[in-house]
């Protein structure tokens, strides 16, 4: 495990190697070498199972972090490969030739985050949404509550309470603030 990570660090210049949990290690890799790294892990190191692939939106740093989660059934170890891409130039190399389900994930990311995957099959088809005319919904700047109120409208009389405020004011007015 250690050897492998060291070798990867040498060959692929991976950074931020963190052992997150037992059997889960994550690291960052540059966008250009991501596909080669994944291919290497799949073919040489036995990380044959793509658990999933997803994206985290760090709007404050102006990046999308793509996460590829690979699993090795023999070593019972999972690797989380993080790839940072810029929010302005949101394109990523497609890995649909490596795993058969990868194009589905890429189609979802294309729809939910607007990330482009050139060459990925059916990537521009609708996945979950239909006739979507807003910015991709999973981006942090998309306010789903506001959108829902505008588009669908709420029935008059519906109230939603923030539980903290409700408990403090209505249920336990004498307890005061029990900040922990």
């Amino acid at each position: 495990m250690k050897d492998m990570l060291q070798r990867l660090q040498r060959d692929f210049n991976i950074s931020d190697i963190t052992e997150r949990q037992l059997r889960l290690t994550t690291f960052h890799v540059k966008k250009q070498s991501a596909e080669t790294l994944l291919r290497e892990l799949r073919d040489r190191e036995g990380y044959t199972h793509l658990n999933f692939m997803t994206c985290i939106d760090y709007i404050e740093d102006d990046i999308f972090t793509l996460v590829y989660m690979l699993h090795n059934y023999d070593k019972k170890n999972t690797l989380g490969i993080h790839v940072n891409i810029s929010r302005d130039d949101e394109a990523m190399i497609s890995i649909h030739t490596l795993w058969a389900q990868a194009w589905t994930y890429q189609r979802e990311l294309r729809e939910m985050y607007g990330i482009r995957f050139p060459g990925s099959p059916r990537v521009d088809e609708d996945f979950c949404l239909e006739g979507w005319d807003q910015i991709p919904p999973m981006r942090r700047e998309f306010d789903t509550k506001k959108f829902s109120e505008e588009r669908f409208g709420h029935r008059a009389g519906r109230q939603s309470e923030q539980p903290r405020k409700h408990m403090k004011v209505e249920l336990y007015p004498n307890r005061g603030g029990d900040e922990k």
Binding site: L129, E130, G131, G153, R155
Partner: protein, 211 residues
């Protein structure tokens, strides 16, 4: 009987269709169903309708999971004349299983309009009333009755099969009393419903009324 294309002023625009498709679909407005002139006949018809409720097999949301126990051996809704029917043409009850996402809503409308009247809509859970748990979701509608008329709401998440049975009996009561006129409401306020539907369904590529 053969009212394929009526060349009157009061036709539907079918603007979502291409010119070629326009020829294939009817542009006539739906018509309200007048009750039979003799009251006894209408009452008898309502009695028959109430005792033979055929539910369209379309699990639109999580509510569909309790329809299986309802139809099978434990609760056996067949006793009340309820049966599942796989095609909209033959069914008379549409069960909205909770939330309706925008993509499903389009299919719900299509299926509902294909059903032949008199037809009834039951909505399960709180989600069709005001969005429920998904009040802030970008993909589920909050007030289902803006898009289709609902005859009966059954509460709970999930509504238990017992509640469903009670709801069906309530629906039967309403039908027998002649109070279930959701389908007529839909026809009378057709333009309002349509404009609401088109407000949320952005890629409207079907005829305005699916015969």
């Amino acid at each position: 009987m053969f009212k394929k294309t009526l060349n009157t002023e009061d036709t539907l625009k079918n603007s979502g269709l291409t010119d070629e498709e326009q020829q294939l679909f009817s542009n006539a407005r739906p018509q309200a169903y007048e009750p039979y002139p003799i009251k006894a006949v209408e009452d008898f018809a309502n009695w028959a309708r109430a005792n033979s409720l055929w539910i369209l097999a379309f699990g639109t949301g999580c509510g569909a999971i309790e329809l299986r126990p309802l139809m099978t051996a434990r609760f056996d809704a067949n006793r009340f004349g309820v049966a599942g029917r796989p095609t909209p043409r033959q069914s008379s009850v549409f069960v909205i299983g909770g939330y309706a996402s925008v993509k499903t809503l389009k299919r719900i409308i299509r299926s509902y309009e294909q059903m032949q009247g008199p037809k009834f809509v039951i909505a399960l859970g709180i989600c069709p009333v005001n969005g429920g748990m998904y009040f802030d979701s970008y993909n589920t509608v909050n007030q289902f009755d803006q898009y289709l008329p609902v005859d009966l709401y059954i509460t709970g998440c999930m509504p238990r099969p017992e509640v469903l049975v009670a709801g069906i009996m309530e629906l039967q009561k309403k039908i027998k009393a002649g109070e279930c006129n959701g389908a007529n409401l839909y026809v009378e306020n057709f333009d309002w419903y349509k404009s609401n539907q088109k407000k949320v369904i952005k890629n409207w590529d079907m005829p305005d009324y699916n015969w």
